[in-house]
Amino acid sequence: MHLGFLIMTAPYTFQNMDHAIGLMEAALDKGHTCEVFLYMDGVIASSAHIKPGQDRNLPNKLQVLMERGVRVTSCGVCCNYRGVKLSDFQDGIKQAGLAALGRMIIAADRVVTLGF
């Protein structure tokens, strides 16, 4: 099964990113495939400059998932509104827009929406 995750909240403020990462780790372990679209405040997790100290590093966790084949896409307009530049992105995260979100929804067998 191919799972799509739409994440609309900021990392650390909400647990949605943690839930999505945990669900994807479990899904990949069971042989499923996953992809992520970071939308609204979710795009903040695109930044390679997040330095949470001893706390969990969510962009690094996304990086590990990408190395396991998960495609991570971040909404370009949402980034513009929040001052997240393409040059700030964690390696491997792509910038796109709603056409890419539409493609993910069509391609996925199930879409998990994690919002407010």
């Binding site: 896409t73 909404c75 370009g76 307009v77 513009n80 393409l86 792509k94 910038q95 796109a96 827009g97 709603l98 056409a99 890419a100 539409g102 493609r103 069509i106 391609a107």
Partner: protein, 76 residues
């Protein structure tokens, strides 16, 4: 690249370039080509994704003077 039609979406943010592309393509016949100009960074991936999800043919993407120029062929 020679194209049948051209669409300039400069200054328009996502999703407008794709919406206008879809609208223009509805007016076109199968096999005709469209050149789309955009300065929206998201257009780079969006035009490919839109072609994937609609079945139209993505031909090429160029970047010139800070603008993205996409070429697509109507396949359906």
């Amino acid at each position: 690249m020679q194209t049948d039609f051209e669409l300039d979406t400069t200054g328009m943010a996502c999703p407008v370039p794709i919406v206008k592309t879809a609208k223009k393509m509805r007016e076109m016949s199968t096999g005709q080509t469209l050149k789309i100009i955009s300065d929206d960074d998201g257009f780079r991936a969006d035009i490919v994704a839109w072609c994937e999800s609609t079945g139209n043919e993505f031909l090429q993407l160029e970047e010139t003077d800070g603008k993205l120029i996409g070429y697509v062929r109507k396949a359906v």
